[in-house]
């Protein structure tokens, strides 16, 4: 039977680097120059099909702006399986901010988390301030995946998520044994209780 995986993915990065735009491009293949942040979405989901027939479903969490005043709650990335840390290739300071997030993840997140560093706004390459060499070298040193994207043109977006989807099933433990919202209610889940059902949480309480 084809394998199905589900992973919690979080986005991190300085304000306005294009986190929400990347999600919108990946999930709906849309882009908006004057986008207000999405109101009311707990998270979005998108499924990636791999060559071997297995599928990876991402549960994608956006920061909801809480990082703007250094107020992102640790629960945001607590049991994330993977993180996309975004910087803007026209803003060197945003790479510094990305480094801070990566340090934070290495300190506080699950040690098995897979991190992708993502240089966004590739369509503005004429105004590039962060070289590919610099970012790639840093990513290699820290053992991160790396890629450049444009949420505007769509370039590189699918590829960075697909690369993550390929890497995750090998590095992360099988989803059924992990905690976290991403696998809540999965068949055979451990003894968690499902508040949405009236019965014991031992059984399949999936309400999706």
């Amino acid at each position: 039977m084809a394998k199905q995986y589900q992973f919690k993915l979080v986005l991190l990065g300085e304000s306005a680097v294009g986190k929400s735009s990347l999600v919108l491009r990946f999930v709906k293949d849309q882009f908006d120059d004057y986008r207000e942040s999405t109101i009311g979405a707990a998270f979005l989901t998108q499924t990636v099909a791999l060559d071997d027939g297995s599928t990876v479903k991402f549960e994608i969490w956006d920061t909801a702006g809480q990082e703007r005043y250094k107020s992102l709650a640790p629960m945001y990335y607590r049991n994330a399986n993977c993180a996309v840390v975004v910087y803007d290739i026209t803003q060197p300071a945003s790479l510094e901010k990305a480094r801070t997030w990566i340090r934070e993840l290495q300190r506080q997140a699950d040690p098995s988390i897979v991190i992708a560093l993502c240089g966004n706004k590739l369509d503005l390459a004429a105004r590039r301030q962060v070289t590919q060499e610099e970012a790639q070298k840093y990513a290699e040193e820290e053992g991160l995946m790396w890629g450049e994207t444009s949420a505007k043109s769509g370039e590189g977006v699918a590829s960075i998520f697909t690369s993550l989807a390929k890497k995750l099933p090998q590095t992360a433990p099988p989803p059924q044994t992990r905690g976290g919202g991403a696998v809540r209610g999965a068949p055979g889940a451990r003894a968690a209780v499902d508040l949405n059902s009236n019965t014991n949480g031992g059984q399949d309480g999936c309400n999706c």
């Binding site: 109101i39 707990a42 250094k70 629960m75 919202g181 209780v193 508040l195 014991n200 999706c208």
Partner: protein, 422 residues
């Protein structure tokens, strides 16, 4: 910070976070600030570094306790009643998406010098006699007399099941006690082992989840902000708050007592909060499960006041690595009670004695504050401190109460649309 908000919320404790989440969903423009650089205020869960910084600033945490990130030590010992009001709010707001819960494995009561399980057979036995009672007229005392229930059973009913902290309920009508017993038994029936559930990674996840709900609905969050002044007009009505040189204006302000003069000497200004009781809480780090609990990974133990000649019960709440709040083979127990004497640490000794060897202990004596006014005249709404009860029912009561005063109508929970987009 030139914008004007509908509501400024001060402090990110659970009460404040539920309120800002619900207010944001309602469409209010909310600014939520906290003086600390972490979420949760007095209802936070701390890692070891934060715990030591708070209780022993001159010491670093011992490395033999393991990794900092493995710890989330609650400051208030409370569990969630499975069929209680907080569960309803969690489900209705869909905040359950952010959390995972586990049962508390056991519920024990101290009787005649030893602890024993709260047995479900006994629960049924006390439930049936209550059926034939005129709930609104008969007092619990008359019920006890009518059925000839001995003092031990009375303690059991009033304290282990109805979860009263003292014996004041005895002379009051039976109805509220009956309702509490029903809540206990239905919660017990829901998952089986105890009436309580608990969020993985500690209680501090609760305020953080409601803060995310608020942010998703447009709420703005600022941690690590000093609040230097609550600004009012000549009539004492709220205008805004000052943080350093910045002033933010809003129509209303909600905040925990620590932002409204709690614990500070009053200097002429208006007294917005008063101290009611004091609670002593001893956070104990153990290297073993509590003796006599069948090695349960999590328990509540109630020591009814009569059993140790007090007016208020002593509670023990213990969680462990099963709930992702500490390293493996470590157990975190909190012993607490309402202070009755000038030597509070002696008062909790019966509880501490049940724990076996204590690796380390962090004791605090915390005043419980309550607001002096409803806030409807000055638009300043103060929440209550976290009380000595073992659950969150009173926290939700406070949320509902503040909501009614702030919004002008009762809180009606609507089931939120499922908003996961495919």
């Amino acid at each position: 910070m030139d914008e004007e908000y509908d509501v400024i919320v001060l402090g990110t404790g659970l009460t404040e976070c539920i309120l800002s989440g619900l207010l944001s969903v309602e469409g209010k423009k909310v600014l939520h600030m906290d003086r600390n650089d972490y979420y949760g205020g007095d209802s936070a869960s701390l890692n070891l570094t934060q715990l030591y910084r708070k209780f022993r600033p001159d010491q670093t945490s011992p490395s033999e306790l393991g990794r900092d990130r493995d710890y989330a030590i609650d400051l208030v010992p409370k569990f969630i009643i499975a069929s209680g009001e907080l569960t309803k709010i969690l489900v209705h707001t869909d905040v359950t998406r952010y959390l995972e819960f586990k049962q508390i494995a056991g519920s024990f009561v101290y009787r005649d010098g030893k602890i024993s399980k709260v047995p479900s057979t006994e629960m049924e036995a006390v439930r049936s006699p209550l059926m034939g009672v005129n709930m609104d007229n008969d007092s619990m005392k008359s019920v006890y007399e009518k059925f000839g229930l001995e003092p031990g059973t009375q303690d059991f009913i009033g304290h282990a099941m109805a979860l009263y902290l003292d014996d004041d309920y005895i002379n009051k009508p039976a109805r509220p006690t009956y309702d509490r017993i029903i809540l206990y038994t239905s919660s017990m029936a829901r998952y089986g082992k105890s009436p309580y559930i608990y969020p993985l990674y500690g209680l501090g996840e609760l305020p953080q989840s409601f803060a995310r709900l608020s942010a998703i609905y447009g709420g703005t969050y600022m941690l690590d902000k000093t609040i230097d002044e609550i600004i009012t007009d000549a009539d004492g009505k709220f205008i805004g708050v000052r943080s350093g040189e910045e002033i933010v204006k809003a129509k209303q302000v909600i905040g925990d007592p620590s932002y409204f003069g709690a614990g500070q000497a009053k200097e002429g200004g208006k007294m917005r909060v008063v101290e009611e009781d004091k609670v002593i809480r001893a956070i104990c780090i153990l290297k073993h499960p509590i003796p006599g609990t069948e090695d349960a990974d999590s328990v509540q133990i109630i020591i009814p006041q009569n059993q140790v000649h007090r007016r208020n019960d002593i509670y023990i709440a213990m969680v462990s690595s099963t709930h992702n709040v500490c390293a493996k083979d470590v157990y975190i127990a909190i012993v607490s009670t309402i202070v009755e004497t000038s030597t509070p640490e002696l008062e909790i000794k019966p509880g501490l004695d049940l724990l076996g060897p204590i690796y380390d202990k962090f004791v605090s004596v915390t005043p419980l504050y309550t607001p002096t006014s409803t806030g409807t005249l000055d638009n300043i709404f103060v929440t209550k401190s976290y009380d000595a009860t073992s659950h969150f029912e009173t926290v939700v009561e406070d949320v509902q109460d503040v909501w009614t005063r702030v919004v002008g109508k009762d809180l009606v929970l609507k089931k939120r649309e499922v908003e996961v987009e495919q």
